[in-house]
Amino acid sequence: MSPIRIRTKERPVSTDDRPQDPPANSASGRATVGTGPGQPVAAGPDTTGPDTTGPDATEPAAVAPAPDGPGGSGGRRAARGSAVRGEVSLRAPKLPRWAPLLTALVATAAGALLALTLGWGLIAFAVVSAAVYAVALPAWALVVENRRSAVDRLITTLVWSAFAIALVPLVSLTWTVVSKGAPAFSAEFFSYSMRNVVGEGGGIYHAIVGTLLITGMAAVLSIPIGLMTAIYLVEYGAGRRPARVINFLVDVMTGIPSIVAGLFAFALFSIFFGPGVRMGFGGSVALSVLMIPVVVRSCEEMLKLVPNELREASYALGVPQWRTIVKVVLPTAMAGIVTGVMLAIARVAGETAPLLVIAGSTDSVNMNLFAERMMTLPVFAYYSYMQPGVPPQFGVERAWGAALALILIVMSLNLLGRLLGRLFAPKTGR
């Protein structure tokens, strides 16, 4: 009997705290009363008390903490109090499993009602519903459960809302690109260049070739440099002065804006080939300026993860350091290194600005990295959108198609990275 009395005494307190949402409170009130004698799951002390040692054992303990326990923590304190008396109750009142669902329904209904009567749009409806949910569920939990659980439910709600908000642009972007780009896809789109194409037709073959060649060459340039830098930093440099300097320089490199990398490559190649130089290789150099720090950092992290014990085990077998690195450390870290490198490649494959400057733009296929302009997907998308030609709809459609193709390439690189990572991962055999 006594625990219920505590609740009835507490409920008005909580109601005073939260006068602004009557639906939640009346619902919780009902739930509290309902759980009392009938449902053992939701009412820990209520059922254990009378069942085991009778009300006398719980009553003083349960009543005692009530005055100093405002808010919803009374239930827990009561449990603690009885624990002191030697009768341990590990149960605590809990909202039914369908409580979040019910609250969500009520919140949606409330949001819809408001939205319909006041003529709001979809966004206002979503915001209002989420807000109602975020207030109602924790309030209900505060009344029935305890403070910790209420905070838990509030934070959970906030985290999921943040997740949903983050998802909005992603979904919207994917939808836009797919819906606008997919119609452009055809066999011709992937097998023709834009040479002598006006209006309809043509394709992005030259841009795909350019992107693959330039990015591939950038990878060829950056992976050895990046990996070896990381090996130096982790295996040889550790804490020495040159390593600290290199660390700083890598940080600086991470912050280089991509257009600056493009201008750097342009200036560099202008020295050798005269002003106005354009070549794919220059693009590769610009991209590797952006890629090297990423590769260094990801490889460094992976090498640091290799336990020192393995290195020592190898040394103890009389294996020199360089062999230890090549045959023990690198294979152990290989999965992470491959994944990191693939992500770095995917990251630079979509760069536009540096390629605009140094690789230029062309309508024809160019397979030679070392001479002449070379088209790439981002640059193609840029130009077809900015200068779609007449009539414009074909150029715009090709731009979206190129964008979708680029996303697909980057995504498959990411997937490939994860796949290779799994392939190389050390097997435990369990």
């Binding site: 014990e309 020592e312 085990a313 045959k327 152990t332 097997k427 435990t428 055999g429």
Partner: protein
Amino acid sequence: MATSIDVSDLDIYYGDFKAVEGVTMSIPAKSVTAFIGPSGCGKSTFLRSLNRMHEVVPGARVDGRVVMGGQDLYGSDVDPVEVRRQVGMVFQRPNPFPTMSIYENVLAGNRLNSRRMKKSEADDIVERALRGANLWKEVSDRLDKPGAGLSGGQQQRLCIARAIAVEPQVLLMDEPCSALDPISTSAIEDLIHELRTEYTIVIVTHNMQQAARFSEDTAFFNLAGAGKPGRLVEMNSTKKIFSVPDDPSTEAYISGRFG
């Protein structure tokens, strides 16, 4: 194929911190020598200085002489890699190479040094090392499975097999059983007992019974005082150390009165 080790006046440093001071001892060949002492007194540090693993730690150095087979290990023309080939090591936590199978783990010392060998020769080495480590019966049917998939005790014996596959003269073991259950521990103790006939074995242990059971000699290390470097208090035959030690602090430690 086993040699004795003579250490004279060895100081061991981590940067400016002197971890061990003035150790002089003679470790006899083809026998088991146990190191005991409270944690942090420098047993591991000293052990690692016996195969030049100590200097793997940045800033670490030693001062003094460690003579093995007539050569000073810290002589200026000595290659630490060669030293480690002669002085194998087993660590506290089993550390098989995760990327390698059981077979490759045993052969690691040979393979990593890219010694070329015929398949039959390699098979031979693997079987001999695994038999030597009392592991052959348990794993002979799954040599191509990853070494990391074995139990802790099996992994430790795999590490011992890996160490003896390169046929060192000395085997250093740093608390090889402290991460293992009693059954694995006794398997490894039996193994150490057998290996004694072929190798000079030095073992760090916190287990007094273990030290008393299978070592010929025991060295007791202790800190000279809080913040002071560790030092060798006394080294004697195990029988003497565990019955009538020279130093009162040894007796206090062994009888559990401190440490």
